[in-house]
């Protein structure tokens, strides 16, 4: 359960950007969370509100976009979407695959309120 640390880091990053923009509030944040990032979207949503208290993101709407794990097979060259934890090629069953997506954990966008 390290989602609190993730939520606090998320808000810190967002506040840094908001200050650069001289914004007075952050009403919304969109994060991208990969299936293999080790972060649980529900747990993140659950702690976000608390973590945002008394910050520029207080009351912000958190949107979580999840990304499935995908691999590129080094044997047959095809891309497929295996079901974690087994990261093998769905097409040919080979073990030798390169992970293409699934480890994402980043802020995709945020709304800021800026005074004229």
């Amino acid at each position: 359960m390290h989602e609190m640390a993730i939520a606090l880091a998320l808000i810190e990053q967002a506040e840094t950007v908001a200050r650069e923009q001289k914004a007075r509030a952050i009403p919304g944040i969109t994060v991208v969370v990969g299936r293999l990032s080790g972060t649980d979207p529900d747990a993140l949503r659950a702690v976000f509100e608390l973590a945002a208290e008394e910050t520029l993101a207080a009351g912000a709407v958190l949107t979580v976009e999840t990304v499935e794990a995908s691999v590129k097979c080094q044997a047959c060259g095809k891309r497929s979407y295996p079901t974690p934890p087994f990261m093998t090629c769905v097409e040919c069953g080979a073990l030798d695959v390169e992970l293409e997506s699934g480890r994402e954990l980043y802020i995709k966008a945020m709304d800021v309120d800026v005074e004229d």
């Binding site: 974690p84 934890p85 073990l95 980043y106 995709k108 966008a109 709304d111």
Partner: protein
């Protein structure tokens, strides 16, 4: 508060009666309403960018000082500290080692590891389930500064959270004890997919367990095909020679 604009003015007027009604006001007051513009900023900013930046600094510091750092991660009770005790004893006088050990509470592990020729520092995280790069970085000059070749970072006993935080190590080693069952790698794939090396501990107990080495190896390779596996018992010394030889090579 003024319902129309959200300013505080309406609440500030003096009045002696109890409430139960709203005071409308028609904007005769002489303050300025700032114009607020809402805009959306597109970003690709890593949530853990700050930790990652600290980790990168740590890695640079370690590399510049000729230190190889490994981040040891496992469940509580896998035998990380016991393995380190035996490891430090065997490397003493041959490879200059240091240890940063993390636990939620107590410095029991640091006490166990002291007096074996290595600099040892304990981090008590209190409420946190993982070590982070800033905490580790703050200790580096003190613990790994004086000609240390090999730094062991013994993470909090936890298979989930520590895997998400880069500490600036050169790589992670996952430990798995035979008593935990052979399917831990598939139950906790995040860590096992990130660790190029796995140490199977408590191998001396295998005769007393329903535990299958081939099955465990298979699970590990399903999660990370090229994984390098050590099988040892720090208690009996089984497999320890290969482990020590490997660490000596790592230290150059």
């Amino acid at each position: 508060m003024c319902k129309e604009c959200g300013c505080g003015t309406a609440l500030e007027h003096a009045h002696g009666h109890a409430h139960g009604h709203v005071h409308p006001h028609d904007h005769g007051h002489d303050h300025v309403h700032p114009h607020v513009e809402r805009k959306t900023i597109a970003l690709e900013r890593k949530v853990l960018a700050e930790n990652d930046a600290h980790a990168e600094e740590n890695r640079k510091w370690l590399t510049n000082h000729g230190v190889t750092a490994i981040n040891l991660i496992s469940s509580p009770g896998t035998g990380k500290t016991y393995l380190l005790e035996r490891t430090l004893e065997r490397l003493r006088g041959r490879v200059s080692c240091a240890v940063i050990t993390g636990d939620q509470c107590t410095d029991n592990d640091a006490k166990r590891l002291m007096g074996k020729g290595a600099a040892v520092k304990q981090i008590e995280t209190i409420n946190s389930c993982h070590l982070d790069a800033a905490r580790v970085g703050a200790l580096l000059p003190e613990v790994a500064g004086n000609g240390v070749k090999l730094l062991f970072i013994e993470n909090i006993g936890n298979l989930v959270c520590p895997a998400a935080f880069d500490l600036g190590e050169h790589f992670k080693i996952a430990l798995l004890s035979t008593t935990e069952g052979e399917d831990k790698p598939v139950k906790y794939p995040t860590l096992f997919s990130l660790a190029p090396v796995v140490v199977l501990t408590k191998m001396d107990l295998v005769p007393n367990l329903d535990w299958s080495l081939p099955k465990c190896r298979e699970y590990l390779r399903q999660i990370r095909p090229g994984v390098f596996i050590f099988e040892l018992s720090a208690k009996t010394g089984l497999g320890m020679d290969a482990w020590i030889e490997y660490l000596e090579k790592l230290a150059g």
